[in-house]
């Protein structure tokens, strides 16, 4: 296919050139950046002819590539602090990135548990450590991953030592605080050691007055033998923001990864997860909920790669759509040859509350082993009239009856969150969305 040069190619090139001198990392890191950027340039923004981006055509939805955000000044940090207060979660260890820069002053780095190490990515890159084989270079086949690898400014690098059980959940908060629209490019790494246990909350929020920014994030997760990570992701970005994030998770033997991603923010968002099973007996739960309104477009794309035998995966995805919102779910489960006894299930359901909303589902199975149990299901529909009638007959107003049914509908995806406080937080996000709708 011929790649049509668009104006965004030029914008991306000038963003890269302009930012080059202040991007952290010399020599090998700089080379890696250049290679990644060349890779991006070859492909350009993904469009509908690129199968994985079929429903999220960035040439149409993104239109422009913004220059990289400047490092936050005092005013920005002050506004970021206000935003943090609004979205504060009790008892978590907060790690804050403002406009793509790690801010130690706003973060909680006091009294780190033994075995827990937290460093800014900038520092790691400047030390040239990112090329360490503990942090494998990301696969940049995807144009937006390549874009991220070329322009990442900062992030958080977290290591949880073997046999450590973290008492406090970690929270990485991405705050957009700039008043001028700009690109924010971050990457974080989390390694959970052997038999270690950790909980991670990722929050994406905007300070008052931050609009139309473009956020590009990537998260690398490695869970060693017997380790466990619980992961809650909350996209509450500005309603006109652009949000593209990738997850790379690698699980070793007997590892557990339990994730739930909620999207209520962002004008156009895409969350793509690439989860690979590298050791026998690992288990993954990857759930997601999209709650969308207005003209929001949210795409959740998950690729579960069962490369080894005896692994289990579960995916439950829910979308509730009002207005002219558009939700996309693409789930791909691959069972490679010899990955026998794989047990993989995926269920995606969409609820359309308005005649102008659109839900696209593509649950895909690729199976190369014969002794496996894999299944997927997909449904689309409106709220059940008989259930509504039942509730209304008992005196509930229409909106309340709807809210009750919607809560039950998304509850199936949220109930996998183990931590009581975090589950309550996820439920509250749903409630806020419903209130805003009413």
């Amino acid at each position: 296919m011929t790649v049509v040069a668009t104006k965004t190619d030029g914008q991306a090139a000038s963003a890269f050139q302009a930012a080059r001198s202040r991007l952290p990392g010399a020599a090998a890191v700089a080379e890696q950046r250049q290679a990644a950027f060349d890779n991006y340039t070859r492909q350009g923004l993904p469009h509908r002819r690129v199968e994985d981006w079929k429903y999220t055509d960035l040439r149409v939805l993104m239109r422009e590539v913004l220059p990289l955000a400047a490092a936050p000044d005092h005013a920005h940090l002050a506004r970021a602090a206000d935003a943090l207060q609004l979205h504060a979660i009790d008892g978590v260890r907060r790690l804050v990135l403002v406009d793509g820069v790690f801010v130690a002053d706003l973060s909680d780095l006091a009294e780190l548990e033994p075995g827990l190490s937290i460093r800014p990515l900038r520092e790691v890159l400047e030390a040239g450590e990112a090329l360490d084989d503990r942090w494998p270079a990301p696969d940049t086949a995807d144009a937006m991953v390549a874009f991220n690898a070329a322009l990442m400014t900062d992030g958080v690098v977290i290591e949880v030592g073997a046999d450590i059980t973290l008492q406090r959940p970690l929270q990485i908060v991405h705050v957009a605080a700039a008043t001028e629209p700009a690109s924010i490019v971050t990457r974080s790494l989390l390694r959970v050691g052997q038999n270690a246990t950790a909980t991670l909350v990722e929050s994406f929020v905007a300070a008052d007055g931050s609009t139309r920014y473009q956020l590009h994030d990537a998260l690398h997760v490695t869970i060693a033998e017997g380790g466990r990570l619980d992961h809650l992701r909350l996209n509450e970005d500005a309603i006109d923001a652009f949000h593209i994030a990738s997850l790379f998770a690698s699980l070793h033997g007997q590892a557990r990864y339990n994730a739930c991603a909620l999207t209520t923010g962002g004008g156009v968002s895409r969350y793509q997860g690439f989860v690979r099973f590298n050791g026998d007996g690992a288990e993954v739960t990857a759930n997601g909920v999209n709650l969308l309104n207005g003209t929001q477009h949210a795409d959740t794309t998950l690729f579960l790669d069962h490369a080894v035998p005896h692994c289990v995966s579960r995916e439950v995805f829910r979308a509730v759509l009002d207005g002219r919102a558009h939700s996309v779910f693409q789930g791909r489960i691959m069972v490679r040859p010899h990955a026998q006894k794989t047990d993989a299930k995926m269920m995606t359901r969409a609820l359309l509350l308005s005649d102008e909303a659109e839900a696209d589902n593509k649950p895909e199975l690729e199976i190369f082993a014969d002794d496996v149990t894999c299944g997927h299901g997909a449904t689309t529909g409106a709220l059940d009239d008989t259930l509504l009638f039942y509730l209304r007959a008992r005196g509930l107003p229409e909106k309340e009856a709807q809210a009750l049914l919607i809560q039950a509908f998304i509850g199936e995806a949220i109930e996998s969150i183990v931590d009581d406080q975090l589950r309550a937080l996820a439920i509250a996000v749903g409630e806020r969305w419903l209130e805003a709708r009413a």
């Binding site: 359309l352 005649d355 659109e358 839900a359 696209d360 649950p363 199976i367 299901g377 449904t379 689309t380």
Partner: protein, 506 residues
């Protein structure tokens, strides 16, 4: 769970090295010069004595085709086809105008006899009885085999060699003839409908077909007529290096009904041959078309050498209110299958169905499925697909269900199961479910346990095992469609359908 032994045995029986139709008929034939150019198209058009508008239509398609590139999105892998290294037209040499079936080259008659396709009406009257089928009345639990008439259009390479029961069909008002004849005799119908479902610009292979199609069947069933017998076309590729490009057009006018069946075989050869057909169905108000395919092209040998590339565009247009189109396919042949029989549910309350059993063995690659495009109000569709892959084959189900903004009350149910036999093969499911209307209700499932819990519960409660209950439900779904297949295949297909769902992977 691994597949059951019985299933494994059954699939082995139709493995690629068991191909029964691989013989070649030695016959003198007339071909167009090798390669594709405007001259080739003029040659084909001239051979068929076509009117000028038809030639123009072909040339336009050809010019369009030159600007297109071959699709690569399907999960199939094959060396690049050299379109200039093919013959686009091959016909058995004819000495003079034929007046009866007895004048057909006995070699061709013998070929069809060997394939079990009766071209003599007298033979047909005796009924198509499957070898080993029990005569009626013998009580062994099997249903008695009914004797039925089937009208056959036999297409040998690029031309139709015989069409049976033309007269009897004419009495009922049904037009059943080779499309090359229809272009001459019923230009108004052909002009009105040809390319109206699959436009010449549709896709690479359909456009190629529009430029060079040589023969195929044309069916028109007038308003209110129920076609008195099964219609069928039997396609045979015989010549070397020849592509077969047939074109089928079926129109069921208001309230009409027709059931149509196609079968296909080819000789065993080391080279790959191309088959790029286009099938268009048009169902007007309250009309119903049942289209069944038994695809058994040569699949290549056990090492994956040779075999047919089956790149086919099939689409039905439920144009009228309350119309219905049902596709049934049993796919066992071809080296590569690229085929998505689809329904455009344009008329309000129209209905589309797709039942498919695709079995791949050896090095076969199947990428097949359907599209259900809901445009009208209260339209419904059902998709039942079963893929079985064995050997080193790859079997993909690819399907699209979509409801447009105005398709209020659209309803779809999809179930696709795959079964793998052995650890060298692959089974893939790529469904696209797109809803743009809140009153659309779509259900897609690929887990056997979820086929209507209520029905299963009902059966289990009455003492059936879960497995038996599932078998019963699946059989119930497809039975009446399978019965439309000729007996020989209905029996075989039924066996395949009843293959245990044990080990199904969704």
């Amino acid at each position: 769970m691994p597949a059951e032994q019985e299933t494994v045995e059954r699939v082995r029986r139709i493995d690629v090295d068991q191909y029964r139709y691989g013989f070649e008929t030695d016959i003198e034939s007339e071909k167009a010069p090798k390669g594709l150019s405007e001259d080739t198209i003029r040659f084909i058009s001239g051979k068929k004595n076509e009117p000028a508008w038809m030639l123009e239509w072909r040339l336009e398609a050809y010019r369009r085709w030159l600007t297109m590139s071959e699709p690569t999105w399907a999960r199939v892998d094959y060396p690049k086809i050299d379109y200039q290294d093919l013959y686009y037209y091959a016909a058995p040499k004819q000495k003079k105008q034929l007046s009866s079936i007895d004048e057909i080259d006995p070699e061709i008659l013998k070929t069809y006899e060997k394939l079990g396709i009766p071209l003599r009406e007298v033979a047909v009257l005796e009924g198509v009885v499957a070898p080993g089928a029990k005569p009626a009345g013998e009580d062994d639990g099997e249903p008695p085999v009914e004797q039925r008439k089937v009208a056959v259009d036999a297409v040998f390479d690029s031309v139709s060699v015989a069409t049976t029961f033309k007269e009897e069909l004419k009495k009922a008002g049904v037009i059943f003839m080779p499309i090359s004849e229809a272009i001459r005799e019923h230009p108004e119908l052909v002009q009105k409908y040809l390319g109206s479902v699959v436009p010449t610009t549709d896709n690479f292979f359909a456009t190629l077909n529009s430029a060079v199609f040589s023969d195929g069947s044309f069916v028109y069933v007038p308003p209110g007529v129920r076609c008195p017998m099964e219609l069928s076309t039997y396609f045979r590729i015989n010549e070397r290096n020849t592509g077969q490009f047939e074109r089928t057009l079926i129109i069921a006018d208001k309230g009409a009904y027709v059931s149509y069946l196609e079968g296909c075989t080819a000789p065993q050869r080391d080279e790959n041959q191309l088959h790029a057909a286009v099938v268009e169905l048009v169902a007007l108000d309250d009309a119903e078309i049942k289209y069944s395919t038994v695809q058994n092209w040569y699949p290549g040998n056990a090492e994956g050498k040779g075999g047919i590339y089956n790149f086919v565009t099939k689409r039905g247009d439920c144009r009228g209110r309350g119309s219905k189109i049902s596709w049934t396919q049993v796919e066992t042949g071809s080296a590569i299958t690229w085929k998505y029989p689809s329904c455009i549910l344009r008329g309000d309350e129209s209905r589309g169905e797709f039942y498919s059993i695709a079995i791949s063995n050896g090095y076969q690659q199947v990428d097949s499925g359907t599209k259900m495009i809901h445009l009208g109000k209260n339209t419904s569709s059902r998709i039942i697909s079963k893929g079985i892959s064995a050997g080193k084959s790859q079997n993909t189900y690819r399907g699209l269900v979509t409801a447009h903004r105005k398709a209020a009350g659209a309803r779809n149910f999809t179930a696709c199961d795959s079964l793998l036999i052995g650890d060298q093969c692959g089974a893939h499911t790529v469904p696209y479910v797109e809803a743009k209307n809140s009153s659309a209700v779509f259900e897609h499932e690929a887990t056997t346990s979820k086929i209507s819990e209520d029905v299963l519960f009902y059966c289990v409660q009455r003492g059936l095992s879960q497995e038996e209950a599932v078998g019963l439900v699946v059989n119930g779904f497809v039975k009446d469609v399978l019965q439309q297949l000729p007996m020989e295949f209905a029996v075989e297909a039924q066996k395949l359908i009843s293959i245990s769902l044990e080990g199904s992977v969704g």
